[in-house]
């Protein structure tokens, strides 16, 4: 397997606060990895740096064999992102939003692609509705559709199933697995839903106080901590030296 992302000693300091401390890990092509940690563990800071929204204080990010910190624009069209904390324009319709982002990412055959993601995320009935008229679950689906509009090879998701009902959550999980299978895409997501991590992920990265404290398959983590669920592992890790 070949890695598409490597970070080495990735560090972010905000004046006196060390938000991310010498983070080193790599992601193999076609894998799904969860970034876990409690509040303030450094997950959002890490995702922001991997998206180019935040400049690291020091360290290296190599993405698709490019120096992402110096030359992010050469790879940004190959990735995408969805987060419940970042909205799409509310006064635009779903179709208009998808069209704008399709153009932004240089997608060819835009109408065809909008129809594809619309089918995948069951958006047909709401394509011509304004985003502000949708429920939060529907908005999450639109945001996920936007994140796949350019068929990204690297997908970063922040709590991808937040505000979705259990049935939709399960269906989104299957959709992400299918997308990974079809496109060979690599997915990194932050989540607090440990069951989701167990069902979806090949690997998990556990962060605490800005440091990477564990990495491995969910199964390996369960064995190492002699626990039955990742939730128990998570609680154990956070209790250990809190």
């Amino acid at each position: 397997m070949n890695s598409i992302l490597q970070t080495q000693f990735l560090t972010k300091r905000f004046s006196k606060v060390l938000a991310v401390d010498r983070l080193s890990f790599s992601l193999e092509k076609g894998t799904i990895t969860a970034l876990l940690g409690g509040n303030g563990a450094g997950k959002t800071t890490t995702l922001s740096m991997l998206l180019g929204l935040l400049r690291p204080t020091s360290g290296i990010i190599r993405l698709f064999d490019k120096d992402f910190i110096r030359d992010r624009f050469s790879v940004l069209h190959r990735m995408n992102f969805s987060s419940p904390y970042v909205d799409l324009p509310q006064r635009l319709t779903v179709r208009e939003n998808l069209m704008v982002y399709a153009k932004m990412y240089g997608v060819s055959r835009i109408q065809e692609r909008i129809q594809e993601v619309s089918d995948s995320f069951r958006l047909d009935s709401m394509l011509d509705r304004r985003l502000r008229k949708l429920s939060s679950g529907q908005k999450t689906r639109v945001s996920l559709a936007k994140s796949m509009i350019n068929k990204p090879e690297f997908l970063l998701l922040d709590e991808p199933t937040a505000s979705l009902d259990p049935e939709t959550t399960e269906w989104i999980r299957r959709l992400l697995l299918q997308y990974r299978k079809d496109r060979g895409a690599t997915i990194l997501f932050a989540s607090h839903d440990m069951r989701e991590v167990e069902l979806l992920c090949d690997f998990a990265l556990l962060m605490k106080k800005g440091k990477l404290i564990e990495k491995g398959t969910p199964h390996a983590l369960l064995e190492r901590y002699e626990r039955n669920t990742l939730e128990e592992v998570f609680l154990q890790v956070n209790k250990d030296d809190s």
């Binding site: 905000f14 800071t45 990412y105």
Partner: protein, 267 residues
């Protein structure tokens, strides 16, 4: 060539985002034209009232013309900055800047939609001034284009500083959008010649491009003299301020990336 095509594609993508927003609300479109038209009507009557006693103030439709041209600057600045604020209000900056969009492409897109919105605002007011008050700014011909272009650019230059501050300090600095044009208004010699101002204000005024635009308009409409020297001064100063403004915006964007402000921008 491919890179250039994609640059234009991204600028166009953002332009249509603002266009979609604009067309989504008829009241918004009407409002854009409403304020310049109201300004024109009020100042048109003021002009008629003063015409017999102060011909130097109203000759050649001067008062109505300067009001319209000044409003061009205001509309250009407001349209640019409001479009940027839309991104903050809708918490969309994060989505924009994880896409391949370069900051300067955002500047180009905002300038393009600002131009369209300024035209929507100013053309009806300028056309209505003809039947209402017999004042046609279009009769100025090329000089009108020069005055109009300069004020649009001054508006964009101001917007660079405001958006730079908005990126750095967030929506708490929103009111600067409305404040800044009025800060330069007294120095711009819109309704009076430069010589009216006290000396210290004149020293500031000569550093502002709008001063040369309005001095040029007075020269053209009252003395029928087209002063190219004033045009060059306005263009030169505009280029300086626009360059410094864009530089300030890009610097602010860089700081925002260092401090993690792009994800936090919003209500």
């Amino acid at each position: 060539m491919v890179i250039h095509r994609f640059c234009l594609s991204r600028i166009f993508a953002l332009f249509i985002r603002y266009y979609f927003l604009l067309r989504s609300s008829w009241p918004r479109i009407i409002e854009i034209a409403y304020w310049p038209t109201m300004q024109m009507v009020v100042w048109g009557f003021v002009s008629q009232h003063f015409a017999p006693s102060s011909p130097e103030l109203t000759a050649g439709g001067l008062l109505v013309s300067v009001v319209l041209v000044w409003d061009t600057l205001f509309r250009s600045h407001i349209s640019y900055t409001l479009s940027f604020l839309e991104e903050m209000w809708s918490r969309n900056l994060g989505n924009l800047f994880v896409s391949p969009l370069r900051p300067w492409e955002l500047v180009m897109a905002l300038a393009s939609i600002s131009f369209l919105r300024t035209l929507i605002g100013m053309i009806p007011a300028a056309l209505l001034a003809v039947p209402f008050f017999g004042v046609s700014v279009f009769e100025m011909g090329f000089p009108l284009l020069a005055f109009f272009s300069n004020l649009i650019i001054t508006g964009w230059a101001m917007s660079q500083f405001v958006t730079a501050i908005l990126i750095r300090y967030g929506l708490g600095a929103e009111s600067l959008t409305w404040v800044l044009p009025f800060l330069i208004a007294p120095f711009s010699c819109i309704y009076y010649p430069l010589s009216t101002l006290p000396e210290w204000m004149q020293e500031v005024s000569v550093l502002i491009p709008t001063t040369y635009v309005f001095e040029g308009m007075r020269s053209l409409l009252l003395e029928e003299v087209w002063r190219q020297d004033l045009l060059y001064a306005a263009v030169g100063l505009n280029l300086v301020y626009l360059t410094i403004g864009v530089g300030t915006f890009l610097f602010s964007f860089r700081l925002a990336r260092q401090h993690g402000l792009l994800l936090q921008c919003g209500e």
